[in-house]
């Protein structure tokens, strides 16, 4: 069974792909923090434009990115719809007794824009290097080894877990089970999930044995050798200028 992984397009070639992953992670995280701390909607929209620009430079296919962005976007969409109704401020419109405030709309749009920009930037970070490389880069930046291993193995086995659950639900359907909103359905799904946990526990024991049999002693030997060159630093400088520039513009806009 094939899955579209986050690093499915890490083989492409772009300035973002060729960027040292450690420098890339740090620079892009600074940019993300800069964007999510913005207070002006206009500057946040500029931040979103920069994020999209970086995404375009990374050459990651739009279809692949949009597929992953749709869920965070659905989560962010309610903000500009609900906040105008709940936030005090100048009334923009009154419809059937409901008052919509300008401040609420602005705040809602600001939250949605900042969120979308941050989510968009995740793709150039994680989609332009093999997941393994990104995790090793995070480890060399100080991520604890245990967390590194959890990330690596979670990434490897999440797909398998999903496959197992899919085959379990297919098996249930083949035996005439249909999902309803009642207690028997909850009981059956609970049992299936419980079985999945037991299987996962047993598998983890076998995986551990397989690792130990190949010399594992709790540590993953370093496999990546990173090297920073001048271009990496120039790219980092450009992104940092954008990050601090946005903060400067935001300061001016708010004042």
């Amino acid at each position: 069974m094939s899955h579209l992984e986050i690093d499915g397009y890490s083989h492409l070639s772009s300035p973002i792909h060729r960027w040292d992953p450690r420098v890339k992670i740090v620079s892009m995280l600074v940019l993300i923090f800069s964007i999510v701390l913005l207070k002006s909607l206009a500057v946040a929209l500029l931040g979103l434009a920069i994020s999209i620009g970086l995404l375009l430079i990374s050459r990651l296919p739009f279809a692949y990115v949009s597929q992953g962005i749709k869920w965070p976007a659905l989560f962010l969409l309610p903000f500009p719809l609900i906040l105008p109704l709940t936030m005090d401020g100048d009334m923009a419109l009154t419809l059937y007794g409901l008052s919509f405030s300008v401040e609420g709309l602005e705040q809602g749009l600001l939250m949605m824009t900042r969120g979308l920009a941050a989510v968009v930037l995740i793709y150039p970070i994680f989609g332009s290097s093999p997941f393994n490389t990104t995790i090793h880069a995070m480890r060399s930046l100080g991520l604890p080894e245990t967390v590194t291993q959890i990330f690596l193995f979670a990434y490897r086995y999440l797909f398998l877990l999903r496959e197992q659950f899919t085959s379990m639900t297919r098996s249930l359907s083949s035996k005439g089970f249909t999902k309803k909103t009642d207690l028997p359905t909850a009981r059956v799904l609970g049992a299936a999930l419980g079985m999945l946990f037991i299987r996962s526990y047993e598998r983890s024991d076998r995986i551990y044995k397989a690792m130990v049999s190949r010399g594992y002693n709790g540590h993953l030997p370093d496999s990546e050798r990173f090297k920073i060159n001048g271009f990496d630093l120039v790219k980092a400088l450009m992104v940092l200028v954008l990050a601090f520039g946005l903060q400067g513009l935001d300061h001016l806009a708010v004042v």
Binding site: E5, N132, R156, I207, A210, S213, R214, G215, Y216, S223
Partner: protein
Amino acid sequence: MNPAIEVIGLSYRYPDGTLALDGVEFSIERSTSVALLGPNGAGKSTLLLHLNGLLGAKGSVSILGKKVEEANLPWVRERVGLVFQDPEDQLFMPSLWEDVAFGPRNLGLSNREVEENTSWALKVVGLSEMAEKCPHNLSFGQKKRAALASVLSMKPEVLVLDEPTSNLDPRSKEEVISLICDLKKKGTTILTAIHDVNIVPRIADQVLLLDRRVVELGPAREVLVKRGLLKGLGLDLPTIPDLFCTLKDDGYEIGDIPFTTDEALAALAGLIEK
């Protein structure tokens, strides 16, 4: 010279009380390929785990003359390559290359040696092109070969395989068999737990019948014609020997029982001539 594998009085009981091994004793000479046959629940996989020091039990296991005990475990694991039945258990890293390089790195080899061993192992199993792929994107047959590569990269002297051909289509099965045959020719000691008796004559010199204890250990061509013994364990004879054993029982004059298609054709031609 010390035998490759020597097991004396090995008994193991699972935490739930199930007796898996009961006084198992046998010895396998170096550069020998042995097929481990037995019914489900005979303790085959449990026995294999002991050879790598993954389970501790009553009795003793020695590899190349050294006892498998806490102090020797790194030494033993460097020399005994264990391939698990389910490749999903064996392939735990996010890329195939990382998986195959995992063992050599743990052995403390230099980067150049890790690279050499990994490239060699991937080439041997025919997966060099897949090196950067995530294991879950490989087909089941490829996963089986990848699991083998992940152990071959450590260049073990003893190879222990748990059902290497189970759930494989005929072509993938053939690829794994030819791999095992190549390793056998190179003098690797191989112990293969297997259910498919038709493969045994091709990959093994000897057969070890296990049913919690050793029932029989002997040359493959002698053990695989003992119909009563095999049936008693719920095992089948390979198809060709089974046919010729039946003919022999029916009074036909059969010399040596044939095991391969060529041998069977020659035997049939002889019967027709008579």
